[in-house]
Symmetry: C2
Subunit: 428 residues, 2 copies
């Protein structure tokens, strides 16, 4: 990988850390990994965080992490969502909006920032790469490292994505529990239960629900993946078959389910800052279909943000990996490794062993890893043993947060602002 230009006089530089895109139950553990490793490094002076991610850098709204107590920083390990604020804000290409990149360098220069850590998914890997390229082009000494995070599990190269294991554990546990519920009620009441989970294009979260089926005939009976175009007839036949055989049918469905023409079943008409359609509400549509065509009483759930913020049922494996990629990002950066991303390398599945590797951002940015076809059963409605073998270790182990008065005791930061130095305003 490209070495970053060495800072002049080797004086310690400040680091900038930002959270990007949808948050997760464990992204703050990556933040803690970055911050605690930076505190140990002689090459890094202070850590500044972007208030609301990259937006904080553009508007020079930096947070002085050194104002937080060590206990609070460690508390991030058990606190979900983005403690510094995240952002859905896509930088345009350098050609189209040079001004934004120049502004970033202006702010970094003003605050002696020599290390740039962006914690996010596909889009932010691309942003991180572009910032690195522009800094280089402008001759500004910046080491940019992407810290992987996405509940969608769709980053390439890395075996899995920090944030995914916890949402996987949540949806598998929820499907297991709801399955017990439906099974108990089905004789005289609800026969079909539908649970909708995230995953716009990749069915990893949907697949994770499949882990709940620990014996034949139990929930979930049918999974609807975004990788498999929705076949109404085959789906209804599968539901009927399961109700006939087991008395009930639990269905897990991805928000990204689409028909053979690529049309999302639940498009809301809204688009986000990246131009992606905002989805939601496929579960009630499937439920309506089941009622209309088969006449079964149904219930449906849409987990939405609950699934990705459920720190109370986080995966220990995921938590450890999230912390580890944050720590490794700093270690790579201070070694001068630029435009890279720490990865999770699976050493073995049984017993589960992993280590931290590295990928070049040019190989990561904007590449989306979908489920391999052989992770999905031939009929398209469930996961294969191969998929189970891949997924099972990722939800292993519990890492309950501390509780106080019956609720998780999550930390809140002071998020003290760093004094502005550029004297220029910047309009987003």
């Amino acid at each position: 990988m490209a070495k970053s230009p060495a800072p002049k006089k080797q004086k310690p530089m400040n680091a900038f850390y930002a959270q990007s895109g949808g948050v997760s139950a464990v992204i703050n553990a990556s933040a803690a990994g970055v911050i605690l490793a930076a505190m140990k490094s002689k090459k890094i002076n202070k850590v500044y965080a972007g208030r609301h991610g990259i937006v904080g850098a553009l508007t020079e709204d930096l947070i002085d992490v050194s104002k937080e107590s060590l206990a609070t920083i460690k508390g991030l390990i058990h606190t979900p969502a983005g403690a510094f604020g995240s952002a859905r804000y896509k930088l345009k290409s350098i050609e189209k909006n040079l001004r934004e990149y120049e502004r970033l360098v202006e702010v970094f220069k003003a605050h002696d920032i020599g290390y740039f850590f962006l914690n996010g998914g596909n889009d932010s890997a691309d942003t991180c790469l572009k910032v690195s390229q522009l800094a280089e082009r402008m001759g500004y000494p910046l080491t940019a490292v992407h810290v992987p995070k996405t509940v969608d599990n769709d980053l390439p190269i890395t075996d899995c994505c920090p944030g995914f294991g916890s949402v996987a554990k949540y949806v598998a546990t929820s499907m297991l529990e709801a399955g017990f519920d439906v099974e108990a009620m089905a004789k005289t009441s609800t026969k079909v239960f539908i649970m909708e989970v995230m995953g716009r294009h990749a069915g990893w979260i949907t697949a994770a629900m499949g882990l709940a089926q620990t014996q034949p005939g139990t929930a979930p009976h049918v999974l609807l993946f975004p990788e498999i175009p929705f076949d109404e007839e085959a789906f209804l036949a599968a539901v009927k078959r399961n109700v006939d055989q087991y008395g009930y049918c639990a269905v897990g469905v991805s928000e990204g389910l689409h028909d053979k023409d690529g049309k999302f079943l639940a498009e809301s008409g809204l688009k986000d800052a990246f131009g992606h359609a905002q989805l939601g509400g496929v579960a009630p549509r499937i439920a309506e279909l089941v009622r209309g065509k088969l006449g079964y009483k149904h219930h449906w759930a849409v987990a939405d943000y609950l699934q990705r913020s459920a720190r109370h049922i986080a995966s220990k494996a995921d938590l450890e990996q999230s912390y580890a990629v944050g720590k490794a990002a700093v270690e790579y950066a201070v070694k001068g490794m630029n435009a890279v991303m720490p990865t999770i390398v699976r050493v073995s599945s049984k017993p589960y062993r992993w280590k931290i590797g590295v990928a070049k951002l040019t190989d990561v940015a904007n590449v989306e890893k979908k489920m391999p076809r052989d992770f999905i059963t031939p009929d398209g409605f469930h996961i294969t043993p191969k998929c189970r073998n891949y997924l099972a270790p990722l939800i292993a182990g519990e890492a309950f947060p501390p509780f106080e008065d019956g609720l998780p005791a999550y930390v809140r930061l002071k998020n003290a602002a760093v004094k502005k130095r550029t004297r220029t305003d910047f309009k987003l």
Copy 2:
């Protein structure tokens, strides 16, 4: 309360236990309480459970609980939903359908059943009372005790209802976590989050979400109770005020939200066996309203069965109470206390102390306890300190289930059938 006629010769009789209505995260703990107490009593021989509740009694589909290992019975304490199957099946009045009551007595007589334990909510308290009355009228010696269970928390006399504390802990935790998520995203993305919970007529579960607001300005900002007719204008003003002031607004809404004319906002058109409308989908309707009138980007979640089956985040207080009412039901029954229900009596809130009391079923059946008006703030959109004082102890303490391979290790019963003795079929 009325004493049941003493069984002839005082020989030990068998007990019948059935689960009724919607299940909960801890109803099986009540089952364990009943079974383990019955095993200790010299007056009770075997415990038979109804497969799918009262339906199992009518169809003589009894489960021989003695075929389960002690470890499995104890495992019920950490297993959600109804291990023997529950039922939504309402017995008509004795006048309208004497045949069903006579059938119950026929089955009880055939299996030497002298004790009847029905584990459910308002409707089943009524059923339990009627069965007791009919047995008395027919001169059959039966002691009937209702074991309280309802996530809706709407049974009278008892301070709270077993099952409620766990759903309360789940919804409060979920709202807390999702609130952190929205707060992190609001700057550039979702500004309004709406979470729908159960509670057809009583807003207890909605109120429990309010516990997540541990400091001003945090989620939830607005609660929509079934006790307060929906005022669109006031609601939209409240959402806007919170977004203006805090940058985001988290809304908790009851499935039973209705307008001033009593019309549910989310009526699906279906009715259950009790003639109650099946609800679901008020969250997307509120979301649509917020988008249409205020233009904010939103997300919404419908917890549905996830909330009431979430044994993984059960309340320790609730679990202990659920077990205790099951145990007390047996103790009352063998003392000859008939047509009663064990209750939870609050001794003090801080520290939380409670004991088991007793109520007559004639005082319980079909009485629905709504939220007192002074538990809801004058504007109708949040809970008062008095409500918080009531609710807080109910979610106290954690009681995590054992985990295996990353998932809760819930037990499944053999549910071995008892040999039929009546030689008559019964059509439901």
